[in-house]
């Protein structure tokens, strides 16, 4: 097998990993005025995992956990000092008033479930 071809593929794959997982972001779901955002907790991911909201307005994130493993049990909002236990198969509302623009991650305790709250100013 041509070593150069394999090496080239390897370098491209490494580059793609960097680009896909670190540099590129999924499309964000925008919050609608006054309506809660439903977030499904299943199969190792939050759906949607990237949510865009305006700063300074109360926001309700409605988590519904379908994954029974303990990993999915908690949702932790690092920069906002919020942690909630998610009941199984029952929605749980997390009300947040994000005052400062920026990106806030929300994760499970093990950091395997990951989501991002993008708080935009001037909307």
């Amino acid at each position: 097998m041509n070593a150069l071809a394999v090496d080239s593929v390897g370098v491209v794959v490494a580059g793609l990993i960097v680009w896909w997982f670190w540099l590129s972001k999924p499309d964000a779901q925008r919050a609608r005025e006054g309506a809660p955002i439903d977030i499904l907790v299943a199969d190792g991911v939050y759906t949607p995992a990237r949510i865009e909201v305006p700063a300074g307005r109360p926001l309700t994130l409605r988590f519904t956990r379908k994954d029974p493993s303990p990993c999915a049990e908690k949702v932790v909002f690092e920069g906002l000092n919020i942690t909630r236990d998610l009941p199984l198969d029952k929605p749980l509302d997390v009300v947040i008033v994000p005052d400062h623009p920026g990106e806030y991650t929300f994760t499970c305790q093990m950091k395997m479930y990951r989501g991002t709250l993008v708080v935009r100013s001037g909307q």
Binding site: D43, V45, A49, P68, D93, Q109, M110, K111, M112
Partner: protein, 760 residues
């Protein structure tokens, strides 16, 4: 659609209230419908509004409200976890049935070679069986990895799916087209894929079991709450689930029963064991007008009480919530692990690619086989979960353990700081002493007698809530003394009070004797500084005060119209266990300082009894925080222990603020730690548990860092050039499966923590 929220509504006296409450509820954004049941005093609210907003709206309309929670949440959760646990074990068994025979038969040479047509068929069949295993036992890894990929995330599922997926794909390709690869590389790794999936499922199941134990403290607290309550509705007694008890409902408690919710006794009397809250082993007498707390145990009598706090508003629910919140917080020590785990999996993927290329370019023959094994092993051995779990799992057990000792830790940072303290500062009143002072001496000037002295002191203290004032009032009440009418009352912070007598009957010691004509006059009651600021001559009292203070009695001077009338001395007994607790603090190398507004002589007398190292006396309440700052400026890491109300600024200023509570007042905002049992032993226990928890976190972090730091290079083949050792991917799978379990099990060791001879 979310289930409607149910609220208990208090204060509705007429059907007209129904409309008011419904209107208030419907005005809350997100509410689609709200119905109030007047008979049940409940409201059912549909829509997306949070319970907090609904309760606030009802309260704003002038009524009481509390959320009614559904029963059996915890039981449902446990049942769901048990189903998941059994499913994981089933998946383990299925994967094991395929993987283990291959694992055993392979090294014994019982399996056919790939180069023969029969062998090829056999391996294709094994490939199909393994595919079934991957779908049934490992399907969730692939599904999770796929979903994570599309949201630009990589997690543990990604690593397991890629590792086992690569093993299976290579193996099936070799089985289908053996001549495509050199003879030496003609090897299938189906057993590795199956066994890795079995081991990781088994690890998850074991971890789940171990995790259940980490929340035992919360379960025990929840267990304090009875499941049912006996309410009186329409004159009839009915047992109802505790979730259905409404505000202001009347409940009956019989001997030996637990009290269901918080309330006030309205009829009957009994003794109640409140040790779960206060640590006080002796039952407390309860009669009409006394408060009772949900979860405490009624001993001898029967009584009726009215519910004042239900659901998540009870003292016990507050304690549970506070412990839950603290269990979820994280000290600074865990943040590095968080940062690493956020970039960990893509980093491992890149290392896996590099590993493949290195083996492919400079590895021995068969290069493809070696490259594949090493890459697969890197993917499998890396364990981001252990890293992510290391801190929170220890916090969970540590905070729960603290709760068993009556210590409520508000946030994870307090745990870390408590272990670093060099000095603890104790407030005297209510912390070192019982905080229930009694009048021990009355020294009257000529022309005055003790009754008059006490009457005037009691009159001026009648409106005050200061502990010394309570002592004076109690003494006056015990002697049947009535108070005089006063005006112009003024508190002078840190010094005392001033007022003017305007009327009332002055009492004298000699029954029936003539009352001195002192029905009016300006009164001053307070310390020496107050008297000096008004230029009052203390005369012979100066000498007497020294003797009082030496007995730890606090003197309060009383002056009438600028002339000293006498001294009321109050003494606050030292708590029986303060001396032992301070000795324990000394034993851990801490310096113990006592801070008080009392004079130096009184403070020194208390200090001698309990053995503190330094006394800071004559401190005004507002200066306590400054004294903490001065200690911090000397390089000390300071823990302040106070009552949480008067000492709030000092508690907030200290590196760790410990509020000594009295059972029910658990939500002391200014403190990092609340000691609900009121004993100073709680400080030593809290510091001990904090140190043990931080040590446990460090072990977990060290273990998971070292595991990944050593495991990944070894898996990549770092030992191969020297020792010709390349890790078997199955061993990597086993190590990975055990790493999270080890972290959880290590955290569980904290459950056996014992604070010296003391037990929770």
């Amino acid at each position: 659609m979310a289930k409607p929220l149910r609220l208990s509504i208090g204060g509705m006296n007429c059907a007209g209230c129904v409309a008011t409450v419904e209107t208030a509820l419907r005005a809350v954004p997100g509410v689609t419908d709200a119905t109030v049941n007047f008979a049940e005093h409940t409201a059912s609210v549909a829509g997306s509004a949070s319970a907090e907003n609904l309760v606030a709206a009802v309260k704003a309309a002038g009524y009481e409200a509390a959320e009614l929670r559904g029963a059996g949440d915890e039981a449902q959760k446990e049942a769901a976890e048990m189903v998941h646990y059994r499913r994981l074990l089933r998946k383990t068994a299925v994967a094991g049935i395929v993987g283990v025979p291959l694992l055993v038969a392979g090294p014994l040479g019982w399996l056919p070679a790939l180069s023969t047509p029969a062998g090829q068929l056999f391996w294709l069949a094994v490939g199909a069986a393994t595919l079934f295993v991957m779908a049934y036992s490992g399907g969730h890894f692939f599904k999770g990895a796929w979903k994570a990929f599309w949201i630009h995330n990589a997690n543990m599922d990604t690593l397991v799916a890629l590792g086992t997926g690569a093993a299976w794909t290579y193996s099936i390709a070799v089985a289908a087209f053996p001549r495509m690869v050199p003879v030496l590389a003609q090897h299938a790794y189906f057993e590795a894929a199956a066994i890795i999936i079995a081991l990781i499922n088994l690890g998850s199941a074991l971890e789940m079991r171990a995790r259940g134990k980490t929340s035992e403290a919360i379960k025990r607290l929840i267990g304090l709450q009875p499941k049912t309550a006996r309410v009186i509705r329409d004159g009839r007694e009915t047992d109802v689930p505790i979730e259905e008890v409404g505000l202001q409902e009347t409940l009956r408690v019989r001997p030996g029963e637990k009290i269901a919710v918080d309330g006030i006794v309205i009829d009957g009397h009994s003794t109640v064991d409140e040790s779960m809250l206060t640590g006080e082993p002796l039952p407390v007498k309860k009669e009409a007008g006394n408060e009772v707390v949900g979860g405490t145990l009624n001993k001898s009598g029967t009584f009726l009480f009215q519910a004042t706090r239900i659901g998540k508003d009870t003292a016990l629910a507050h304690i549970i919530e506070m412990v839950r919140q603290a269990q979820n917080s994280k000290p600074a020590i865990g943040r590095l692990a968080d940062q690493i785990s956020s970039v960990f999996v893509p980093g491992v993927l890149i290392i896996a690619v590099i590993t493949f290329l290195v083996w492919f370019n400079i590895g021995p023959n068969p290069v493809l086989g070696y490259a594949l094994v090493a890459t697969m092993t890197v993917l499998i051995i890396a364990c981001p979960c252990a890293l992510g779990l290391a801190t929170p799992i220890s916090i969970m057990v540590g905070v729960g353990k603290a709760a068993e000792y009556g210590i409520l830790i508000r946030k994870g940072d307090a745990l870390q700081q408590a272990g670093r303290l060099t000095t603890v500062v104790l407030d005297k009143t209510g912390t070192v002493t019982a905080g229930r002072p009694t009048v021990t001496s009355l020294l009257a000037a000529p022309d005055w007698d003790e009754m008059q002295l006490l009457q005037l002191a009691a009159s001026i203290e009648a409106g005050s809530e200061h502990p010394l004032a309570e002592a004076v009032m109690a003494a006056a009440s015990a002697r049947g003394i009535s108070t005089l009418e006063l005006s112009g009352f003024e508190a002078i912070p840190g010094r005392g009070v001033r007022a003017v007598v305007t009327g009332g009957a002055v009492q004298t010691q000699s029954a029936g004797g003539p009352a001195p004509a002192r029905t009016t006059g300006q009164l001053l009651l307070g310390n020496e500084a107050l008297m000096r600021s008004y230029g009052i001559d203390l005369g012979s009292f100066t000498g007497k005060v020294a003797a009082l203070a030496a007995r730890a009695e606090t003197p309060m001077y009383l002056a009438v119209d600028g002339v000293i009338a006498g001294i009321v001395a109050v003494s606050d007994p030292v708590k029986p266990d303060s001396q032992d607790a301070i000795a324990r603090l000394h034993a851990t190398g801490l310096k113990v300082v006592m801070l008080t507004g009392d004079n130096k002589i009184t403070a020194d007398a208390v200090a001698r009894q309990v053995g503190v190292d330094e006394v800071i006396a004559d401190v005004l309440p507002a200066d306590k925080a400054h004294q903490i700052e001065l200690l911090q400026a000397r390089g000390e890491v300071v823990g302040m222990i106070g009552d949480g109300i008067n000492d709030a600024p000092a508690l907030a200023r200290a590196d760790v603020g410990f509020a000594i509570g009295t059972g029910t007042d658990v939500a002391i905002e200014s403190a990092d730690v609340t000691l609900i049992r009121g004993s100073l032993h709680g400080v030593a226990d809290a510091i001990g548990i904090s140190k043990a928890t931080v040590r446990n976190i460090k072990q977990n972090l060290f273990g998971s860092f070292v595991y990944n730091l050593l495991g990944i290079p070894i898996a990549a083949g770092a030992l191969f050039p020297l020792f010709h050792l390349l890790l078997n991917p199955i061993i990597a799978g086993g190590a990975m499966a055990m790493s999270s379990f080890t972290v959880v099990s290590n955290a569980n060791r904290l459950r056996w923590y014992a604070s010296g001879e003391r037990r929770p």
